[in-house]
C-alpha cells in the first residue's frame, strides 16, 4: 500500500468516513471557494488615512524606520541621506520593478545603482512592496520578475518604497488585493515586520540575525 493510501485510508477509518461522502465534500469545496473571513480585529478596520498612521506606528514599534515622502522624485535624496547618516556605502541593488522606474537615480550621482536579484556582496537593497498591512505594521512582499526574494534577506540594509495607496487595514484586505491583481499566488509572499532578529542567546532580542539589520520604509504619496 502506498503512503498516500495508508494515510488517507487511516484517516477515513478513524473518523468513520467514506470517500463518497458527498455532503462533507460539498462543505469543504464551499469553504475553499468562498474562503469566508474569520474574525478580523477591529484595529485595522479604519479609514485609509488612519490606516497609514497605524501602519507607521506599528512598523516603528517593530524597529523599522519610516520616512514619508511626497513623490518618487524625492527617493534618491532620501536614500543618499539615509545611507550617509549611517556611514553606509552608497551602492544600491534595486529591484527590476517597473513601479520604481520613475525614480530619477541620476539626480544623485553619488549613488551607484544596479538592478537584479541580490548577490552576497550587496549591502543595500531597494524594493517596492505589494502592500503594507496597518494592523501590525507589516510589509507584504510578493515575489515575481519585479521583485526577487533574495533582495529581502541577503543585504544588511533593506529600503522599501511603499506607496501610501498600497497600505491596507488588515491581512484579509491585503490577500483580497493579491487575489484581485495577481490571480495566482506567487512563489513567495513574505510578510515582513521589522528587521531580522533573534532571542536565542539568553532570550535577549538582538537585531540582524540572518536577514537585514535595518529596514527603512519610504512611504511615498501625498
Amino acid at each position: 500500500m502506498s503512503g498516500r493510501d495508508a494515510i488517507l485510508g487511516g484517516i477515513r477509518a478513524a473518523l468513520g468516513r467514506k470517500t463518497d461522502d458527498l455532503a462533507r465534500r460539498a462543505t469543504v469545496e464551499e469553504r475553499l471557494t468562498r474562503h469566508p473571513r474569520g474574525l478580523v480585529p477591529a484595529r485595522g478596520q479604519i479609514p485609509p488615512a488612519e490606516q497609514v498612521e497605524l501602519f507607521t506606528t506599528m512598523a516603528r514599534e517593530a524597529a523599522c524606520t519610516v520616512q514619508p515622502l511626497a513623490a518618487l522624485e524625492e527617493v534618491p535624496a532620501a536614500v543618499a541621506d539615509y545611507l550617509a547618516g549611517l556611514n553606509l556605502p552608497a551602492e544600491l541593488r534595486v529591484a527590476p520593478d517597473p513601479g520604481l522606474d520613475a525614480i530619477p537615480w541620476h539626480a544623485r550621482p553619488t549613488l551607484t545603482v544596479s538592478r537584479g536579484p541580490a548577490r552576497d556582496a550587496d549591502a543595500v537593497s531597494v524594493t517596492g512592496a505589494f502592500a503594507g498591512v496597518a494592523e501590525t505594521g507589516t510589509l507584504m512582499l510578493a515575489s515575481g520578475p519585479g521583485h526577487p526574494t533574495t533582495l529581502n534577506f541577503l543585504p544588511d540594509t533593506h529600503i522599501v518604497v511603499l506607496r501610501r495607496d498600497r497600505v491596507t487595514g488588515t491581512y484579509e484586505d491585503a490577500w483580497d488585493r493579491l487575489r484581485a491583481e495577481l490571480g495566482d499566488v506567487p512563489r513567495t509572499v513574505n510578510f515582513v515586520t521589522g528587521p531580522s532578529r533573534t532571542g536565542d542567546i539568553e532570550q535577549t532580542i538582538q537585531l540582524g540575525a540572518h536577514g537585514p539589520r535595518r529596514l527603512h520604509i519610504l512611504l511615498v504619496g501625498g
Binding site: 470517500t19 538582538q206 540572518h210
Partner: protein
C-alpha cells in the same frame, strides 16, 4: 534522537541539582509569560480568536482526508511534488532520495521539530551529506551535539559564555584570541559562518507552521530570516510537515497566525511570515527550481477518533511549557525527547508509547495553566489524566502504587467507612503532630517529607468542614 523519557525521574533530579541550569531557568522563562500577557491584552479579540482557531482545527480534523487531497492537488498544480510518508523511516528515505537525485552535498535546514522527531540530521550524515542547522539556537546545539530544550527557544538552557566556548572550539578558522563577550558579536560570527553554508547548499529543508489547502502554500514563521535563506538560495526546497498542519484557506491561516506569534513570543507579528507556493516561476530571477512537500503521519492519524484527537490542534507555540511550573523547574532536557512540557506529556506517550513515556503525564500538578494559555484551547490536563488512566489499565504502574491506589479505591467506594476512617486518621495525625503542627518525617509520605515538612491536619476532615459550612448556610 534516542529517547531517555523512561528516565524522567532521574533526569529531573539531575536537573534540579544542576546549579548552572537552575540559574538559566530562573531568568529565561519569565519574559515569555509577561510578553504573552501584554500581547493578548492588547488585542481585544484575542480570546474569541482562540475559539475561532479551535473551531478551524476541529473542522479540519473532521475533514482531514479531503483537505489533504485538495492541498496535494494545489501543490501539484503549481508544479510541486507531494510525498506521503506514514512513518519516520519513510520520511527519512524520501528526503534522502530527493537529496541524492540532485547529488546534494550540503543541506541547510530551517527550524523544524518534526526534523528532530525523525532524526533527519543523523540520517543525512550517515549517508555522507552535511546537514547544517541555520536557526541560531539550533545551530548552537547542533555544534554541541545536544537536543533542543524548548520548541521555540532550543538553546534556552545555555548562557552566552557556553555559546562563546562552543564557537571558539568549533570555528577554528577564526583567530583564537578574538573577543566573544557580547551577544551581538556572537550573532555576527554565526551569521558570517552560516552565510558561506547558505551559498554551498544544494537543498534547503524547512518545516511548516501551516499548509494551506486553498493555494497549496506552506507557511513558516521565523524571526531570523534563516528559514527564508534556506528555502530561497538552494536549487531544491523540501518542506517537512505533519498531516495536522493543514488549514483550509488563507483567511483561516490568518486567524491561526494572529494567535501564534502572540502566544509564542508575545510579538504582534514575527519578523517573517512566509507563504511558499510551488517552485520558482519561469520569469522569476531567484527561488528554488524544485518544491517538495513531505507529509508525515508518524502516529498522528491514529489519534483521530480517540480522546486525544484534540491534541492535533497544537500549533507548537510553546506557551504551555512557558507557563508550566514543572517545565520551569526541570527544563526541557529532562523530558528526554523532542517535545517537552505539557504538550510533550501528551504527545510523547502517543508517539513513543506509554511504556517509554508514562512518567510524563504524572509529572503535573494539574494547575491548569497550560490549558488556560493554549491558543487552541487543548485540554492538556484532561489528556494527561487519560494517560494516567490508561497507564493503570495497562498495568504499567509499579505494584506498590497499584496496591496503594487499590486500597484507596476500596475505601472511596464505601463513603461511610471512608469518612469514618478519614476522621480517625486526621485526629490521630493531629495528636502525633503534637506541638509543632508538622511532620519532618512520616511513613509512606517520604515523597513529600524528603523535601519539606508535612503540615499536620487540624483535627477535622474536609468533608466535616464542608458539612458544617453547609449547615451554617455559608
Amino acid at each position: 534522537m534516542h529517547p531517555t523519557t523512561h528516565a524522567f525521574p532521574e533526569n529531573a533530579r539531575r536537573a534540579l541539582s544542576d546549579e548552572r541550569l537552575q540559574r538559566v531557568l530562573a531568568t529565561a522563562g519569565i519574559g515569555f509569560i509577561e510578553r504573552r500577557r501584554k500581547a493578548a491584552e492588547r488585542l481585544p479579540e484575542f480570546e474569541e480568536l482562540r475559539d475561532r482557531g479551535r473551531d478551524i482545527k476541529n473542522h479540519v480534523l473532521e475533514n482531514l482526508d479531503l483537505y489533504l487531497e485538495r492541498f496535494e492537488e494545489a501543490v501539484v498544480g503549481q508544479g510541486g511534488h507531494v510525498h506521503w510518508c506514514a512513518t519516520a523511516v519513510d520520511a527519512r528515505d524520501a528526503i534522502l532520495s530527493i537529496c541524492r537525485s540532485v547529488d546534494a552535498k550540503t543541506v541547510t535546514k530551517g527550524k523544524s521539530m518534526i526534523a528532530e522527531e525523525i532524526g533527519i540530521n543523523d540520517h543525512l550524515e550517515a549517508a555522507g551529506l552535511t546537514p547544517v542547522e541555520t536557526d541560531l539556537g539550533e545551530y548552537i546545539i547542533q555544534l554541541r551535539k545536544e537536543p533542543p530544550s524548548h520548541i521555540i527557544a532550543p538553546a534556552m538552557h545555555l548562557s552566552k559564555k557556553d555559546v562563546a566556548d562552543t564557537f571558539r572550539a568549533v570555528h577554528t578558522e577564526l583567530p583564537p584570541d578574538r573577543v566573544l563577550e557580547e551577544p551581538t558579536v556572537l550573532i555576527a560570527e554565526a551569521r558570517g559562518v552560516l552565510r558561506r553554508r547558505f551559498q554551498q547548499a544544494d537543498v534547503g529543508i524547512t518545516g511548516a507552521n501551516l499548509m494551506v489547502a486553498e493555494t497549496g502554500s506552506t507557511v513558516i514563521v521565523t524571526n531570523e530570516g534563516n528559514g527564508d535563506l534556506t528555502q530561497t538560495l538552494p536549487r531544491v526546497h523540501i518542506v517537512l510537515a505533519t498531516v495536522e498542519k493543514i488549514v483550509p484557506t488563507l483567511e483561516d491561516a490568518q486567524t491561526v497566525l494572529r494567535l501564534l506569534a502572540r502566544s509564542a513570543t508575545g510579538q504582534e507579528a514575527s519578523a517573517y511570515t512566509t507563504f511558499s507556493t510551488g517552485p520558482r516561476r519561469p520569469e522569476d530571477a531567484d527561488g528554488p527550481e524544485q518544491f517538495h512537500v513531505v507529509i508525515l503521519d508518524n502516529g498522528r492519524t491514529a489519534l483521530l477518533g480517540t480522546e486525544f484527537q484534540e491534541v492535533l490542534r497544537c500549533i507548537r507555540c510553546g506557551a504551555c511549557m512557558n507557563h508550566c511550573p514543572v517545565y520551569g523547574a526541570v527544563g526541557g532536557h529532562a523530558y528526554g525527547w523532542v517535545y517537552p512540557g505539557p504538550i510533550g506529556a501528551v504527545m510523547q506517550p502517543a508517539l513513543l508509547g506509554l511504556a517509554e513515556a508514562r512518567h510524563l503525564p504524572n509529572a503535573s500538578t494539574f494547575c491548569g495553566r497550560c490549558e488556560a494559555v493554549c491558543p487552541m484551547r487543548i485540554p492538556l490536563p484532561k489528556m494527561m489524566r487519560h494517560w494516567r488512566e490508561t497507564e493503570f489499565a495497562e498495568r504499567l504502574t509499579p505494584p506498590a502504587m497499584r496496591r496503594g491506589l487499590a486500597l484507596w479505591a476500596w475505601f472511596a467506594r464505601r463513603p461511610a467507612l471512608y469518612h469514618h476512617a478519614a476522621g480517625l486518621a486526621v485526629r490521630a495525625l493531629r495528636l502525633l503532630g503534637g506541638g509543632k503542627g508538622r511532620f519532618a518525617r512520616l511513613p509512606l509520605a517520604n515523597g513529600w517529607t524528603a523535601h519539606r515538612d508535612l503540615p499536620a491536619p487540624q483535627g477535622r476532615t474536609f468533608q466535616q468542614l464542608w458539612a458544617e459550612r453547609q449547615r451554617n448556610g455559608r
